[in-house]
């Protein structure tokens, strides 16, 4: 009774759970223009899923897997867009497809196709990882929306994501359920399983019994893929910023539902992977061009952000593309000897942050 009342009061005043404050970009998150200034390695449509495999560095672009080292050599092409990718030490590739399937290519289980986990349809594969050559960890972002419909999932305040351990050819086990769009996996050296939960802007560790513990919370954006960092810790790609207006709209269910019903997805008041490109997109007052220029600190629905996390998963450094830039929607990253490679899915570019730009 009391709880219901205080919820009602919070709703009335816009306080508590209904507050629209977003975490500040300060400390290790202080903005710079490093991603805008980064070297362009390769221009490709919507690159994603950087993975190191036996044949070299791979990334996905639409329904194709390309090899990065040799320009744009086509490795595989599928009948649906690729939403997740993982490579096993023995040369196998696991591919998550938009159409709701996970395929295995190469290795001992070549040709295996999974479209159900424990009887539940596999709708939204967002991230994959090999625990060992015959065990796959699968992140399902949602039980109803395909990966391309992530915006809808966010605006529905979806929390139907789950995490699975799938012995290839064996019986899958659900590690955790009720996650708000798990979107990246990291198998830490100490055996912990770290998952990024996009809509709750946090990283959690999932233990064997399904218990989750918070590792890093209150990120100023929606976290995506994780990659191991040399010397301990992790790289974290944050694919879109949180914003006061979006948080506010999420609480306005009436508006939100009508928006999802009547307006095309790219014109929603919702985070975006790409910088604004149409006059039909919503505009926030601070993003008005003054004297012919857009200020980098303007409120924005898209940005580029990569975080370096230390062994305790605390942010230590960050690389940005801000409101006035175009290399937005960073979805994956991987470290090599010459620095950090990142994919800007919204900016159609694979980029390299050179060693001089890293801490």
């Amino acid at each position: 009774m009391m709880a219901a009342f205080s919820r009602w009061y919070d709703r009335l005043r816009g306080a508590g759970a209904f507050a629209v404050t977003t975490p500040p970009m300060d400390g290790a998150l202080q903005p710079n223009q490093a991603i805008e200034a980064a070297d362009l390695l390769h221009a490709a449509a919507a690159p994603d899923n950087l993975v190191r495999s036996a044949v070299g560095l791979l990334f996905s672009s639409g329904n194709a897997i390309l090899r990065l080292d040799s320009g744009d050599e086509l490795v595989h092409r599928f009948d649906a867009d690729i939403s997740a990718l993982a490579a096993s030490p023995d040369g196998a590739l696991a591919i998550g497809l938009e159409s709701g399937r996970v395929l295995i290519q190469g290795g001992a289980h070549d040709g295996l196709s999974i479209d159900k986990l424990d009887g539940r349809p596999l709708v939204c594969p967002t991230a994959l990882a090999f625990d060992d050559a015959s065990t796959l960890i699968v992140c399902l972002g949602s039980s109803s929306n395909a990966p391309a419909r992530w915006k809808r999932n966010l605006m529905q305040q979806g929390a139907t994501g789950s995490l699975w351990r799938v012995p290839l050819g064996g019986k899958p086990a659900c590690l955790a359920d009720g996650l708000a769009y798990p979107n990246g996996i990291l198998l830490a050296p100490d055996g912990r399983l770290v998952v990024s939960e996009s809509w709750r802007s946090r990283l959690v560790t999932i233990e064997a019994g399904g218990r989750t513990t918070m590792l890093l919370s209150d990120l100023p954006g929606y976290p995506s893929r994780l990659a191991p960092r040399a010397g301990g810790g992790a790289w974290l790609a944050v694919f879109a910023p949180r914003g006061q207006l979006i948080e506010f709209v999420l609480g306005e269910r009436d508006y939100c539902d009508e928006m999802m019903r009547d307006i095309e997805e790219e014109f929603w008041i919702a985070p975006s992977l790409t910088a604004p490109h149409s006059f039909l997109e919503p505009l926030q007052g601070g993003a008005l061009k003054q004297l012919g220029m857009l200020k980098p600190w303007a409120p924005t629905r898209s940005f580029g952000l990569v975080l370096a996390l230390d062994a305790q998963f605390r942010p230590v450094a960050s690389w940005h593309s801000r409101a006035d830039g175009t290399r937005h929607g960073i979805t994956s990253c991987i470290e090599d000897k010459d620095g950090l490679l990142i994919t800007s899915k919204g900016g159609d570019a694979v980029l390299r942050l050179g060693p001089e730009m890293l801490p």
């Binding site: 816009g14 629209v20 306005e252 009508e258 307006i263 926030q284 061009k289 004297l291 012919g292 409120p299």
Partner: protein, 705 residues
């Protein structure tokens, strides 16, 4: 169904009035007034006969004296100080008056002058110490309170008996003591006269304004060149004199010099001043507030006596009242602005028609292209906010700037520029009249005419005040665009009466009819509102029939036509109902059509928000202003329409690189000149196939289409 209810709800309830009332200065009186009503209600119920004529008139003589003392306290508080010595001065004046009249038998007028002088002298001491030597007002006047009180006590000890024995009778003395004028005791008449004079002094005269300025912010007043020290000192002198005047009336009424005369009066006066709503911090307050406070405290304290509380009980109650008043004062001052900023923006329901197609390969007349990509740029980075550039007969280019200048770029290459005139406000819409004078709407100032000799003359800055507007809408807040009829009448738009130039976009969130079109007639010099309740009326352009003009309603996304002459005189009708963007200025084109600038584009998300006023209201309350949802003003285009409202041409800057927000365009000799109110350049576009001889003035003369 639900939407119908919403529409009705927002049509019937005028939400915006709340913010407008809160923005008024007199709202500070609201709390004391409510307290007064509560006091009367509660005490009137407790004490029978309190509110009868007899009950109230018994308080009248005391009321006059108290009012003078409260006024004394108020004027010092307005100047940012406090005067605790009013009670002692009151007692001193009482004793001096009685001593001179009863003991020495001096003539009454002289006695009064001396008593007033005594009060003024104590005030002067306070004033010098606080004003010039910069001592703390509280401590200084506390010390004078004690010293003057001791002096009076010593004198009373020595002369109490002699002083109280009347030796002479004087007609003047009797008049002051016992007579009534207009049913009121003389003291009250004098006090009310002083109050009226004080009101005029504080609100209409320079020294009064200086006191408020010094009290409001000492440093700013000093920086503005006001004599801060003298002003502060003066408030204490006035205060001493007023307290002494009260003492004289007290002497005439009671003819007694007891040692308890005026004891605790400073607390009463302070309570009254603060309860009335005069701010302890200084700078905010009025005579009327002092009057309200005096009435409240007088009624409360007398009622407490009538209720016969135990000893100290009434002091306790008065102390609590003071505490409450101070708390309210502090909270009110601190939160009024916050509350105002939360409630001022009050969105209303609005439903726009379907937005026309703009797709690149669609057959729509608005189909996107990139024809404005390669415009020539004039004055890039040298001007700020060319809202509506215009060209004169020699082809020189004029443009207003945010700094308040009108800049002239010289023909033929527009590389050299000069400040043509400084207006002081942002000049927006412009037009040349037949004599070659430049007439311009200056934001925040009104309509001005600038001759070739660069002399600016104000034509109009006031119109008739509408009856039911809470905001004083007689002043022009945001004159926007204008055009001149063949008979010389100037028709101009005032975009909104609720927001200033710096926050004009916020008006989009309200989308209420806040604007109007006004006409100025130079023959009679009169100004009057022609059409009111328009949704951000903006561009105005005379039609070629000489009897009507086109005007744009920016938030209404429509173009209408108004007839000021001819058979359809006084009527207006919509010509283009649903534009894909927000129309701004309209100007004539060489082919007989009209150019129209779209300052921004409609977005589905904002159109939907327009149908949900509650959504916008909550957004304004909870989200930081920088993050508010606005129409998309980072893109714009120019369209051309003909007399019937058919769109005949469309020019886009697709990426918004050079012209993200186009507020105006002007055709001249085959070129189109583009302006933007938040841009830093003027664009110049060669119109293919346009008449190279055509100028707007030729068109207005009738020589060209």
């Amino acid at each position: 169904m639900r939407e119908t209810l919403t529409r009705l709800r927002y049509r019937l309830v005028p939400d915006h009035v709340l913010g407008e009332i809160l923005a008024k200065n007199w709202i500070d009186n609201a709390i004391p007034f409510v307290i007064l009503l509560l006091t009367l209600a509660v005490l009137g119920a407790l004490i029978p006969g309190l509110l009868t004529l007899g009950g109230l008139s018994g308080l009248a003589p005391q009321f006059g004296e108290w009012l003078l003392v409260v006024l004394a306290m108020t004027i010092v508080m307005l100047g940012g100080g406090i005067d605790l010595s009013v009670g002692s001065v009151f007692a001193l004046s009482n004793f001096v008056t009685l001593a001179l009249v009863n003991m020495l038998g001096w003539p009454i007028p002289l006695v009064m002058l001396i008593a007033l002088a005594c009060g003024a002298a104590v005030g002067l001491v306070n004033g010098v110490l606080v004003g010039y030597l910069r001592l703390r007002a509280f401590l200084t006047t506390l010390v004078t309170l004690i010293i003057v009180r001791s002096v009076v006590d010593m004198l009373i000890l020595a002369y109490a008996v002699k002083v109280a024995r009347p030796v002479t009778r004087s007609a003047i003395w009797d008049f002051i003591s016992f007579r009534h004028v207009l049913g009121m005791p003389v003291s009250l008449v004098v006090a009310l006269t002083v109050a009226i004079a004080g009101h005029v002094f504080l609100t209409r005269l320079r020294p009064g304004w200086q006191i408020l300025a010094v009290g409001g912010s000492r440093r700013s007043a000093y920086n503005a060149g006001l004599p801060v020290r003298r002003t502060v000192a003066m408030t204490y002198v006035v205060s001493g004199t007023l307290a002494a005047a009260a003492g004289i009336f007290y002497a005439s009424r009671l003819n007694a010099a007891g040692s308890d005369t005026g004891v605790g009066m400073e607390v009463l006066a302070l309570t009254a001043a603060v309860v009335g709503g005069n701010s302890l911090g200084g700078g905010r307050g009025s005579v009327f507030k002092a009057l309200l406070g005096t009435i409240i405290v007088l009624i409360v304290s007398n009622s407490l006596i009538r209720l016969s509380l135990p000893t100290g009980g009434s002091s306790l109650v008065l102390g609590l009242v003071l505490l409450a008043a101070v708390a309210i004062d502090v909270k009110w001052l601190k939160n009024r602005g916050k509350v105002l900023s939360r409630v001022y923006v009050s969105p209303t329901y609005m439903k726009l028609g379907r937005s026309p197609e703009t797709g690149e390969h669609s057959s729509s007349p608005y189909a996107v292209n990139d024809r404005l990509r390669d415009v020539e740029l004039i004055g890039l980075g040298e001007i700020d906010g060319p809202e509506d550039p215009i060209l004169d007969a020699e082809g020189n280019l004029y443009s207003g700037t945010r700094q308040g200048d009108i800049i002239r770029f010289l023909a033929p290459d527009y590389r050299r520029k000069e400040v043509f005139v400084h207006t002081g406000g942002h000049p927006l819409g412009m037009a040349f009249d037949r004599e070659g004078n430049l007439v311009t709407c200056v934001a925040g100032m009104g309509v001005y005419r600038i001759g070739p000799d660069r002399k600016a003359v104000k034509l109009s800055d006031q119109t008739n005040r509408s009856w039911f507007s809470v905001i004083d809408d007689s002043r022009m807040r945001l004159a926007d665009d204008l055009d001149i009829a063949p008979d010389g009448r100037i028709f101009f738009s005032e975009a909104t009466i609720r927001f200033d130039m710096s926050e004009w976009m916020v008006d989009a969130l309200e989308s209420r009819g806040n604007g109007r079109i006004i006409s100025f007639d130079p023959r009679s010099g009169s100004t009057r509102t022609v059409i009111s309740k328009l949704r951000f009326p903006n561009g105005i352009c005379m039609a070629r029939d000489g009897q009507s003009f086109f005007f744009a309603e920016t938030w209404g996304c429509s173009i209408s036509r108004y007839w000021f002459d001819g058979p359809k005189r006084g009527t207006h009708e919509v010509v283009i109902p649903d534009l894909p963007g927000y129309p701004d200025n309209i100007n004539r084109a060489s082919d007989g059509g009209y150019w129209l600038a779209l300052v921004g584009m409609r977005t589905p998300a904002f159109d939907m928000a327009l149908r949900k006023p509650g959504f916008r209201k909550r957004m304004v309350e909870r989200v930081a202003p920088d993050s508010w949802l606005f129409p998309n003003m980072n893109y714009g285009c120019v369209v051309k329409f003909d007399e019937t409202g058919r769109i005949t041409d469309c020019l886009w800057d697709r990426r918004g690189t050079n012209h993200p927000m186009i507020t105006s365009m002007r055709e001249d000799r085959g070129w189109l000149y583009l302006g933007g109110v938040s841009n830093n350049r003027i664009g110049r576009y060669r119109i293919p196939g346009a008449d190279p001889e055509w100028t707007a003035s030729a068109s207005y003369r009738g020589d060209k289409p």
